[in-house]
């Protein structure tokens, strides 16, 4: 396509278009989550230049490289500590963490629980594709019991985290879960999370046809069908009662939103300026 016929995408202004084409496979769900995030950021009404995006490593983590804002592609698992440093150094910034399930909950799980405990004012968006996509679809801390991956060829002997429950138990003050198929709800939740003061967590289910899909004989459209047919939308659901089960159902919605002092508030209360 020559320049004359190339249409501008409405989000082009938010993208580093020189980095496109991106690395994401056909059928990958990350792009949709990424678009939702960009739409939410650009519709915030605040100066997008006061927003910074931090990613760890993985296919999802590539998000930081494509967004035309201040962004940081950190080491694997460390997006949250980087984001914490950024927020504390410049409290005016809205800091968004955009990363994968493996990055945030396997190698980086420790940071998640502590940032939630502190109620750090961050928005954490986790693309949960149920595996380590980038390295070839190995079992992660989110892989369903008995699911097949390249390191569990006969089925995963372990069980996954219930991420909303984990976030709740650790003290997160905004918690939602959607699939990338529920784009409008997702965008809405990200917008709310961005304006929420405190630790916000949004889990987004997204297909990885190349890794998880292939190993579990799920065609590109199969997981999307599961997302559509098994969705149980239940805003305000008790995180302990949310389920993520390809047969029994997937609880979606905004589950938690409440206020309590953030890390910065508590810090100010004991430290002189």
């Amino acid at each position: 396509m020559n320049a004359a016929t190339t249409q501008k995408h409405p989000l082009d202004g938010m993208l580093r278009t020189d980095r496109i084409p991106h690395i994401w496979c056909p059928g990958c769900g990350i792009g949709t989550v990424f678009s939702s995030s960009l739409i939410a950021i650009s519709s915030m009404g605040t100066d997008p230049m006061k927003t910074a995006v931090v990613s760890g490593i993985g296919c999802s983590g590539r998000g930081a490289g494509y967004v035309n804002l201040d962004s940081y592609h950190t080491t694997h698992g460390r997006a949250i500590p980087f984001a914490t440093g950024m927020k504390l150094a410049n409290p005016e910034l809205t800091v968004v963490v955009f990363s994968g399930d493996g990055d945030l909950f396997a190698i980086g799980g420790n940071h998640f629980i502590h940032a939630a405990r502190r109620n750090m004012d961050l928005t954490v968006i986790c693309v949960n594709n149920l595996n380590y996509g980038m390295t070839g679809g190995q079992a992660a801390a989110t892989t369903p019991h008995l699911a097949k991956t390249s390191t569990t060829q006969r089925g995963n002997p372990e069980g996954p985290f219930n991420l909303p429950l984990l976030a709740y138990a650790c003290g997160a003050t905004f918690i939602a879960r959607w699939t990338m198929l529920h784009t409008r709800d997702l965008t809405q939740s990200i917008s709310e999370a961005l304006t929420h003061t405190g630790f916000s967590f949004i889990e987004v289910l997204a297909p990885c046809p190349t890794g998880y899909g292939r190993k579990n004989k799920l065609k590109n459209s199969d997981l999307l069908k599961v997302y559509q047919e098994k969705a149980i939308i239940k805003n305000g659901a008790n995180p302990a009662e949310t389920i993520l089960d390809m047969e029994q159902g997937i609880t979606l919605g905004k589950f938690v939103e409440y206020d309590r002092p953030t890390y910065a508030d508590n810090y100010k209360s004991v430290n002189c300026d």
């Binding site: 080491t75 396997a106 190698i107 390295t135 070839g136 190995q138 390249s150 390191t151």
Partner: protein, 400 residues
């Protein structure tokens, strides 16, 4: 029965682990290592390998599991690369300090920042001082063979061992590899007999805090202070080469491929100019040597298979009568030069007598192509300078 298969380096490492009958595998995926744990998890599931496979959540945990498994008396194995190895750093010291014979292939890859998935050896060279032994492979046959040799040597010496091989250049490249039969490997590498095992009837406290001075343990036996433990590890390293050589010789007796010599030479017998290198880059140097020989330059290669313990005496003997040596490295010790070049120069210190002029070339970082012509040019540069009794000063960067 030996069988020749077409294998990648990663597959060769996995085959070696299977043949070594490793009992615990704990690994976290990272390019270009991922095929090793993937293959082994499959073997465990199929029952082809009687081992526990632990899908840990990070490299730090991978080494933690291996350390504990090894203390409990199991033959423990993991594999990693790049930032994964860097993330393991604390546990690397811990494994060596605990004197545990863990074997770990590393599919060499550059270390971020900035991110690269491509090959160089900065990852393992940066772990040089953790107390691990380090072997470097030139081809996939060596990957398979040296993992097995590493277990044999490590278990005799109680020192863990990294078997380093270039990411992509070896890890993802198919080559014919002779895969020995299980029976023969069992003869060469009998089951691991741990120095001590966990035993509920005799509870022990492992790795208590020590002081700077020796103190009696609960049984009244004088136990070294911190420096004493460090000294013992160093002494074991100093005595390790003969043990590794012996293991390499026995391997040759059983399988016909001897690794007795810590060095590998190519057209080196009469060479005035010698490239010194480790890993796949040594293979590239061989091609440059062929080109130089065609020009009438008496060139050769001497490659190190063993980097830690450092074969200083062997290098001294192999190189002292050469005119010029060009050390090519895929890693740099920032603020000075390539570590191998420094160490090679030190091998001549205080020996008196002749020694070659030694130049240092840094090349191939982060997968940077290293054309044969550039190596030939580097050799010419060093040889020309040497006519005036000097070589280029400091590390010369190729391709920058």
């Amino acid at each position: 029965m030996e069988q020749t298969l077409i294998l990648t380096g990663a597959q060769a490492a996995a085959e070696a682990a299977r043949l070594s009958r490793v009992q615990v595998v704990a690994a976290y995926p990272i390019t270009p290592q991922s095929k090793i744990p993937e293959t082994l998890s499959g073997y465990v599931e199929q029952g082809a390998l009687k081992a526990e496979f632990v899908r840990v959540e990070s490299e730090h945990s991978a080494m933690g599991v291996c350390i504990a498994a090894s203390i409990a008396g199991a033959r423990a194995f993991t594999a990693t690369a790049s930032n994964g190895l860097a993330y393991m750093h604390e546990q690397l010291h811990w494994a060596a300090g605990s004197r545990l014979p863990i074997v770990m292939p590393v599919a060499n890859r550059g270390v971020g920042a900035p991110w690269t998935i491509l090959n160089d050896c900065q990852d393992t060279i940066s772990q040089r001082d953790t107390g691990w032994m380090q072997f470097y492979c030139m081809n996939n046959q060596e990957v398979l063979d040296l993992v097995i040799v590493a277990f044999k040597a490590a278990e005799k010496l109680l020192i863990p061992c990294m078997v380093c091989f270039d990411g992509f250049l070896l890890s993802h490249t198919y080559m014919p590899v002779a895969v020995p039969g299980q029976k023969e490997v069992d003869v060469f590498l009998p089951p691991y007999v741990p120095f001590h095992t966990m035993d509920g009837d005799n509870p022990v406290n492992i790795n208590p805090v020590v002081t700077s001075e020796p103190i009696p343990d609960p049984d009244g036996v004088l136990s070294p202070g911190y420096i004493g433990f460090r000294h013992r590890l160093q002494k074991s390293h100093e005595g390790a080469l003969p043990v590794i050589r012996q293991a390499g010789r026995e391997f040759g007796q059983v399988f016909g491929r001897s690794y007795e010599d810590p060095l590998f030479g190519y057209r080196a017998e009469d060479a005035d100019f010698v490239f010194v290198a480790m890993g796949a880059i040594a293979g590239e140097a061989c091609e440059a040597v062929d080109a130089l020989r065609q020009e009438g330059v008496k060139a050769g290669v001497i490659a190190l298979r063993i980097y830690r313990p450092f074969p200083a005496l062997e290098l001294y003997q192999a190189l002292r009568h050469r005119r010029v040596v060009g050390v090519i490295e895929k890693a740099i010790s920032y603020g000075y030069e390539g570590a191998l070049a420094s160490e090679l120069k030190a091998a001549f210190y205080g020996k008196g007598g002749p020694m070659p002029l030694i130049s240092n070339y840094i090349a191939g970082l982060g997968g940077k192509e290293l054309p044969t012509a550039d190596l030939v040019e580097a050799a010419r540069q060093s040889i020309t300078a040497a006519q005036n009794g000097v070589v280029p000063e400091g590390a010369q960067w190729i391709g920058c």
